[in-house]
């Protein structure tokens, strides 16, 4: 058992924390949010320079060979500053499909592009009635000569407004809830038949609606088994969930610190409000919830690429459920303890609270994961 970071990992953390502390204040973030892309192109380039885009890929493929712990370090750091850049969707989710299912040719074509920051990816899965279920897919992929024709509508594609390419789930066989018959396809945002409409999300990021109307895809754009892609989707989503859990810990830590700082400086009734025991206990509960979440983020990271799919899934359900619940408690307390100031758009704590809420809604809220874990027989 060992929960310490290696020297390289510590170096990565320090380097990234320093960059973000210097360059990613809340005001800078606001400016990035208001830019046409909705994130900082300059920071994006910096991340590429630092090797963050190449992080999880094998060295043989031109990557850095980092694992889930490195991913966790980066995601948590991004959570602490509410970074807006589409790193997770590009490198962890999009990159996950490439890593786990890409052929040698696909890897050679895509990884250098991702690593350099030239390519931004997004995952187009959600449909009108899929909610959080990965097996519910109504979009279709029909064979067309050597390639495919994709049709359907994908909703709330996170970071979809700026993505260059989308990993799209589509049904190659079976009916809309079947586990079999789901394929994963890489679709160019500018391919004929693709229409996208970008919009902001509650947490100040961007998403898109994506319509596919007989989009022609060639055989090289299929990832994994076109008839049986669901396990691939699960594997990639689990890695994404692990990263989201880490981001959430960064978000919670920031809220918890902002709140404690505020309790020390805000005075009412002639004393710092932190002198009131009712608030002290609430701050302690926030701290405890954050630490419990950190433990679960570690579990998620260590299990994220486990080959045993059932154990992996159980751990990730547990982590996402616990972090969703704790995140809500920490967020609601953070707002409450700030009083009126917490309600404003101007002050950072509300932005953290909103991001936390949206993390819970992404890839299954805590109820969803509790339900799945219960169906699987629980943990112990």
């Amino acid at each position: 058992m060992d929960f310490d970071f290696s020297d390289e990992q510590t170096l990565l953390k320090d380097q990234l924390d320093r960059l973000l502390a210097d360059r990613y204040g809340f005001e800078e973030r606001k400016r990035a949010m208001a830019s046409p892309e909705g994130f900082s192109a300059e920071m994006w380039a910096r991340y590429a320079e630092m090797g963050l885009m190449a992080l999880p890929f094998a060295e043989d493929d031109g990557g850095i060979g980092g694992g889930p712990v490195e991913t966790m370090i980066v995601a948590e750091a991004f959570g602490r500053v509410l970074a807006l850049e589409p790193w997770m969707t590009t490198v962890i989710t999009g990159g996950g499909f490439v890593r786990l299912a890409g052929s040698a040719a696909q890897r050679a074509a895509l990884i250098p592009e991702i690593a350099s920051g030239a390519l931004k990816l997004a995952f187009a899965h959600t449909e009108r009635h899929s909610r959080f279920d990965l097996n519910i897919v109504e979009s279709t992929a029909k064979r067309d000569g050597g390639g495919w024709l994709l049709s359907g509508h994908k909703s709330v594609v996170h970071d979809g407004a700026s993505a260059d390419k989308f990993f799209v789930t589509a049904r190659t066989a079976g009916s809309r809830r079947d586990a079999g018959g789901i394929g994963v396809f890489l679709v160019d945002a500018h391919a004929p038949g693709v229409t996208r409409r970008g919009y902001p999300t509650q947490d100040g990021r961007r998403a898109a609606e994506l319509s596919l109307d007989n989009v022609a895809i060639d055989a090289e754009a299929v990832f994994g088994d076109s008839e049986n892609g669901l396990s691939l989707v699960h594997a990639v989503v689990d890695q994404t969930i692990a990263a989201l859990c880490a981001e959430a810990v960064g978000v919670m830590e920031a809220m918890q610190k902002l709140t404690v700082d505020y309790l020390k400086v805000r005075k009412q009734f002639g004393m710092p409000i932190g002198a009131f025991q009712a608030l002290q206990h609430r701050a302690v509960d926030m701290f405890t919830a954050t630490e419990q979440s950190r433990s679960m983020a570690y579990l998620a990271a260590m299990m994220a690429d486990d080959d045993e799919a059932t154990e992996r899934a159980k751990s990730l359900h547990a982590a996402k459920a616990e972090i969703g619940r704790n995140g809500r408690a920490v967020g609601e307390s953070a707002i409450q303890l700030h009083g009126g100031v917490g309600m404003t758009a101007e002050y950072a704590v509300g932005a953290y609270f909103k991001r936390m809420t949206m993390i819970d809604v992404a890839f299954g809220d805590s109820d969803h994961h509790v339900g799945r874990l219960a169906e699987m027989g629980g943990l112990f």
């Binding site: 909610r131 709330v156 409450q336 509300g350 809604v361």
Partner: protein
């Protein structure tokens, strides 16, 4: 003990329901159901409809336009209003400054201000809180200095709800800096058009435009705008706190939201079947309903007690219970409503001020779900935070 309403009370309830059904424009009702903001025009029109019927301010003294209903009928009325739902008349006028003027104002003030509140000819806002005076309201620093027939007011108010539409603001100001802090406060009515008043919007985290900062610089307020006596303002403000008891828990509103959650959870799918059939979701919803039922009964006990023994108008710890549980339940229901939307909680529909004119993505009803959840965090902060309410109960009831 008897839970049931009398035959006459049921007939009254039906009359109230029918009135809302026949008179509230469907478009306004739809906005309320979706959690969308109601603009001042809709507000004014509806307020006038209610006033024309004589229902603008049921709890006011009859001579000023009240209905003379007993507490039970007032309760039924409010419950039906929230459940329909119909907009509640602007609280700042009808529930806050109105009763204070009616109780402590002079004859000229009553004759002038009260009718204009009933028709919303005057839109009032509440100027109590300041940057340094929130929970500790009595430490407020905005000062007023007597200068002949005027008070000269300097200072800053904040969190002032809907001040951007307001014609008047009722303010607590410090007139005697040397007295004990509660003793040097005066209650002033200030015309928002007076030179020296500047309103700056504060955008809330959900993107809403409902609160403001109000800066007062050498604002000349005629001395006749003083309510009651100088340096007695704190007493009048406290009278207010205990005054509005039946509205505070918002039981009707939560019932309406629960009905809405049921309706929409039947339209959203989870695992290929309606979400409402999902045991986890259903049980969570029912748990909130149980809490709400308990609160409804608690509220009815308070109402029935007031009806029998009369309400003293003094602050009363029962208000604190209603406020704490009522706000927690409102917050729980807005969270549930957001949960119904699943991934469709995420798209953000910006304010019109930001030039947003595109339709929401996903189902239309999802657009305001997350913003309502965010926005409703306020209900445990304002009007005396839930921590302050707990302090009141600890002290006043438990003797701790």
């Amino acid at each position: 003990m008897d839970l049931r309403f009398t035959r006459q009370e049921i007939a009254f309830r039906d009359e109230v329901r029918a009135f809302f059904r026949d008179n509230l424009p469907e478009s306004v009702r739809a906005k309320l159901i979706d959690g969308e903001f109601i603009g001042p025009d809709d507000y004014r029109a509806w307020t006038r409809t209610l006033s024309a019927k004589g229902w603008g301010a049921p709890h006011w003294p009859v001579e000023h336009g009240g209905t003379g209903w007993d507490p039970v009928r007032q309760y039924i009325y409010l419950e039906e209003l929230q459940k329909w739902p119909a907009p509640a008349p602007l609280a700042f006028g009808v529930s806050m400054v109105g009763p204070v003027i009616a109780a402590f104002g002079n004859a000229a003030q009553k004759a002038h201000y009260l009718p204009r509140i009933l028709t919303l000819d005057d839109w009032w806002c509440q100027g109590f809180s300041e940057p340094g005076a929130g929970s500790d309201l009595a430490s407020l620093r905005t000062k007023a200095v007597r200068d002949g027939d005027f008070f000269i007011v300097n200072g800053q108010k904040t969190w002032t709800t809907l001040a951007q539409y307001a014609d008047w603001i009722f303010c607590l100001v410090r007139t005697n800096p040397d007295a004990k802090k509660q003793k040097g406060i005066t209650y002033l009515l200030i015309d928002m058009k007076t030179p020296g008043i500047e309103v700056r919007p504060i955008v809330t985290m959900d993107g809403g435009r409902e609160i403001n900062e109000v800066f007062l610089t050498d604002v000349r307020v005629p001395a006749e705008n003083l309510v009651g006596e100088e340096n007695r303002g704190w007493d009048y403000a406290k009278f207010l706190l205990g005054n509005e008891r039946s509205g505070i828990a918002r039981v009707g509103l939560s019932k309406q939201r629960i009905a809405r959650i049921r309706e929409l959870a039947a339209q959203e799918f989870s695992g290929g079947r309606p979400l409402i059939e999902e045991p986890r979701f259903r049980e969570k919803l029912v748990s909130v309903e149980i809490e709400l039922k308990a609160l409804e009964l608690t509220q009815m006990r308070v109402v029935s007690n007031d009806a029998k023994r009369g309400h003293t108008g003094r602050p009363d710890p029962a208000s604190s219970i209603l406020k704490i549980k009522g706000s927690e339940i409102q917050q729980a229901t807005t969270h549930l409503l957001m949960e119904v939307m699943g991934p469709f909680a995420a798209p953000f529909r910006g304010a019109e001020e930001d030039g947003w004119n595109e339709p929401a993505d996903g189902p239309d009803y999802a657009a305001y779900a997350a913003p309502s959840y965010f926005n409703n965090r306020k209900v445990s902060i304002y009007g005396g935070s839930n921590e302050i309410q707990r302090n009141i109960i600890a002290k006043a009831v438990l003797g701790l």
